[in-house]
Amino acid sequence: MIENIRLAFRGILAHKFRSFLTMLGIIIGIAAIMAIYSVITGTNEQIKEDLIGSGNNAVTVTLYQGDYQYEAEYGSGTPPILTQKLKDRVKSLAHVTGATFYYSRDYTQNVFYMNTRFSGGKIYGVDSDYLETCAYQVIGGRGFVPQDYARFAKVALVDANASESLFQGVHPLGKTIEIGQEPFVVVGIIDKKADAMPKVETMMEFNEYYSSTVGTIFIPDKSWPTVFKFDEPMNAVVKADNTDNMSTVGKAAADVLNESIGSATSNFVYKADDILEKVRNTQQLQQSTNMLLIVVAAISLVVGGIGVANIMLVTVTERTSEIGLKKAIGARKRTIRAQFLTEAIVLTSLGGIIGVLGGLGLSKIVSNVMEVPTALSLTAIAVAVSVSMLTGIISGLFPAIKASNLNPIDALRSE
């Protein structure tokens, strides 16, 4: 085998320029596939990062009534209450690293600061796990402390958007806001941790994530009943140990919650946001457009393979007398076949390796010029090299068989 590879290199080096031209088809094909592939992978990773945010892995489990997200105004019946015991059960699920329950009310109308109405903003009643689970950090003042919960304190946190839209330049810390005619003191300003922020680059993404630029106000869940009745939904956020487990964790948590509410009450059902599915759908769209390019590159690979087959046939003809001699002094058919097959495989693999390097370079250029992300994928490299080897096997097979079938007498006579 090593002997054959040595022979193959000798044969290839004997005709450097010709070998290079032969490899060119393979080089171009592989380089194109590599470049396209790493752009696809890069874009996909970008999409995933954009939609999910990096490192947080939080899945929201939302209460639905029938097919619609439950809202107090439009829904009927009393939404289920999620207990601490239930939260402990969710937390003990496999791959779950955190869970929080919260009341939520979108489009609140009865929140004021001075005469400004917090119109269209959200208000959440959160437990002590909320900030941690949803990757918020306190950027001013303080978060909620156990006493806030114990004493049903009328305190509130505002996020950066709320701070801007409701206070309009006034520093919100220490100010009193009115929620359902009850005074709440703003004790802290919070914001998403930087690394948990999804990147937003298109309008669609913008709408998806900042549907409410008005912002959100948070109060302790224990204080919730003092301003709202119990007809606000309780939702949950569960945190998975890694991004790939988000779907599973979300479903498992929803199952636990659904089990607890039973099927009797008013058609309520918890559903997990399958963000991974959204990601997959978006990625698929990207992929199918790039598939076309891959097909084009594959065609160039086929053309390259035909070139290799052609040159190998020429080589066999050129070396007829060598082949004849080898058979005459005892080389078996298999030995001759292996020699020429190895030469074809070495030729295309070499082309494949050069193509991979070229493709990586090309993807760097593409990513710089078109400002799309690229990712280096070991799988892609392995696939590219294997494909080029396979091309070698396919295109070398016929010439190799032809060589091994040469009649040694005819072969010796030719010269």
Binding site: E3, R10, A14, S321, E322, G324, L325, K326, K327, A328, I329, G330, A331, R332, K333, R334, T335, P408, I409, L412, E415
Partner: protein, 223 residues
């Protein structure tokens, strides 16, 4: 008496010339003992090379049986015939047939590779074979750096490196001047004295005389 190294029984060989059957060998019977040195003579086109190729397992007879070292090779498979060419027979050609890009040593090593001899042993045995033909000082020369006689001696070294029982040579001096031809003939004689059976085709009566026995072929028939 030594046993038969080669035995041909009623060998026929026909070639097809379009639809025409051209008989080239007709009822050839021939035997040769181990250690013998036989020269085959005959006019051009009489079928000498054809016969040699059949004995060398490069070609199959149309009819007849061949025994090599006591074995009936007409029943052998292609791989078995390859092994016979590799181990039992050594072939020397008129036009040397060395690989131009490889050194004398690499050329001689080649059959050892097919016999799966380990690399180091290959080196050693190839070197000793070159020594036997008097080319120990030309081991790393390329064929085009050697004279015709030297090239033929490299080819002989390649033929004997696997210690064959029978050495076949088709006009081994045909492409050489008389001086280097004589050297090559001395080499064959020496190898024969060392126990190798030699079967040689030649046009030259003087050369044929060095053999222990001489047979003549006329128009496909052995006399």
């Amino acid at each position: 008496m030594a046993k038969w190294i080669l035995e041909l029984q009623d060998i026929y060989k026909d070639y097809m010339q379009g639809k025409l059957v051209v008989p080239v060998l007709k009822a050839v019977n021939f035997r040769m003992r181990e250690g013998e040195y036989v020269a085959i003579m005959g006019p051009s086109g009489s079928g000498k090379s054809t016969l040699m190729n059949i004995i060398g397992c490069l070609d199959l007879p149309t009819k007849g049986k061949i025994f090599l070292d006591g074995n009936d090779i007409s029943t052998y498979s292609e791989n078995e015939l390859s092994d016979i060419r590799l181990k039992t027979i050594g072939f020397v050609f008129q036009r040397f047939h060395l690989l131009a890009r490889q050194s004398a040593l690499a050329n001689v090593e080649m059959p050892l590779g097919y016999a799966h001899v380990p690399r180091r042993e290959r080196r050693e045995r190839a070197f000793r074979a070159l020594e036997r033909v008097g080319l120990a000082d030309r081991v790393n020369f390329l064929p085009n750096q050697l004279s015709g006689g030297q090239m033929q001696r490299v080819a002989i070294a390649r033929a004997i490196v696997n210690n064959p029982k029978l050495l076949l040579a088709d006009e081994p001096t045909g492409a050489l001047d008389s001086k280097s031809g004589a050297q090559v003939m001395d080499l064959f004689e020496k190898l024969n004295e060392e126990g190798v059976s030699v079967l040689m085709i030649t046009h030259d009566r003087n050369i044929a005389r060095q053999a222990g026995r001489m047979v003549t072929i006329f128009d496909g028939e052995l006399r």
